[in-house]
C-alpha cells in the first residue's frame, strides 16, 4: 500500500548532464532507481515507449514526461525531476530541445494522481518553470520539492 507520495529533494536534480534523450531519461530516473522505487526495467520501458510511440512525451516546449505503464517494475509510486545543463533533442518537431525531464512512475492507474495534480499545478505557472530552469543548488531543489508537495500553498 502506498502512502501519499511526495517528491524528495534527492529526486530533484538540477543542471544534470546527458548527451542524448535516452541518457536524459536514465539520468532523471536514477534517484528513483537508487531509492528502490523503480527497477531498471521501468527505465527501459520508458525508453521503449518513446521508441514505439514517438516523442509525444515532450508535452510542452522543452519539457519531457518520461513514463511507462504501471507494472511490477514500480515498487513505489514516485516522481523525479531533472533540469539539463545541455538540452537534448527527443525528435519532437514542436517542443525540442528538452531541458526539463519529469519522470512519473506509478504502481496503479490512480496511485500517482494526487502528486501529479500538484506537479501539474506547479508546471501551469510559467514563473515556476522559469524558477526551476534557473535553479542550481541543493537549497533551490529543496524549495522546489517543498513547493510542489505543498500544492497551491
Amino acid at each position: 500500500m502506498d502512502t501519499d507520495p511526495k517528491l524528495s529533494v534527492d529526486e530533484v536534480q538540477l543542471k544534470a548532464h546527458a548527451s542524448n534523450w535516452e541518457e536524459a531519461i536514465q539520468v532523471a530516473a536514477k534517484p528513483l532507481v537508487d531509492g528502490k522505487k523503480i527497477t531498471n526495467d521501468y527505465v527501459t520501458a520508458m525508453i521503449d515507449s518513446v521508441k514505439k510511440l514517438g516523442p509525444y512525451i515532450v508535452i510542452a516546449p522543452g519539457l519531457a514526461l518520461g513514463h511507462a505503464r504501471p507494472s511490477e517494475a514500480v515498487h513505489q509510486t514516485g516522481f523525479a525531476i531533472a533540469t539539463l545543463a545541455e538540452p537534448v533533442k527527443f525528435g519532437n518537431k514542436d517542443n525540442d530541445p528538452v531541458d526539463l525531464v519529469v519522470i512519473l512512475a506509478s504502481t496503479s492507474d490512480t496511485a500517482h494522481l494526487s502528486l501529479l495534480q500538484k506537479i501539474v499545478m506547479f508546471l501551469n505557472d510559467s514563473q515556476n518553470l522559469e524558477t526551476l530552469r534557473c535553479a542550481k543548488t541543493r537549497e533551490d531543489a529543496k524549495h522546489i520539492a517543498e513547493q510542489i508537495n505543498g500544492g497551491d500553498q
Binding site: L53, Y56, L65, H67, D94, N95, H112, Q117, N124
Partner: protein, 95 residues
C-alpha cells in the same frame, strides 16, 4: 458533452491534459462536461464529442475522428489549451 484526452499509454500526458481541461471548464462554469482519458489503441471503443491529443499521435488517429480532434503542442499551458478548446466547444454548441 464528452471530451477525451488521448495519449500513448493513457496514464501520463493525457491525465495532465484532463486535469488542465477540467480546471479550465470549472473556471468557465461548465462542470457538466465529462472529461476522460484513453490510450490511442482504445480510441475506437471510446466515443467522444472532442478528442485532445499531440501532433505525433494525431497522425495515427482514425481518419473519421480527426475532424473532432484538437491538437495541442503544450499540455501544461492552460491559456494555450483554452485557446484551442473554447472555439471547438462553441462550434459544437452552435450545431
Amino acid at each position: 458533452m464528452k471530451i477525451i484526452a488521448v495519449c500513448g499509454l493513457g496514464v501520463g500526458s493525457s491525465v495532465i491534459a484532463k486535469m488542465n481541461i477540467e480546471s479550465i471548464l470549472s473556471e468557465e462554469g461548465k462542470d457538466e462536461v465529462d472529461v476522460d482519458t484513453v490510450d490511442l489503441g482504445s480510441i475506437r471503443s471510446a466515443p467522444a464529442d472532442i478528442y485532445v491529443t499531440t501532433r505525433e499521435l494525431f497522425e495515427d488517429f482514425p481518419e473519421e475522428d480527426k475532424e473532432k480532434t484538437i491538437v495541442l503542442t503544450n499540455f501544461v499551458d492552460k491559456n494555450d489549451i483554452k485557446a484551442h478548446l473554447d472555439p471547438k466547444m462553441a462550434e459544437l454548441e452552435n450545431k
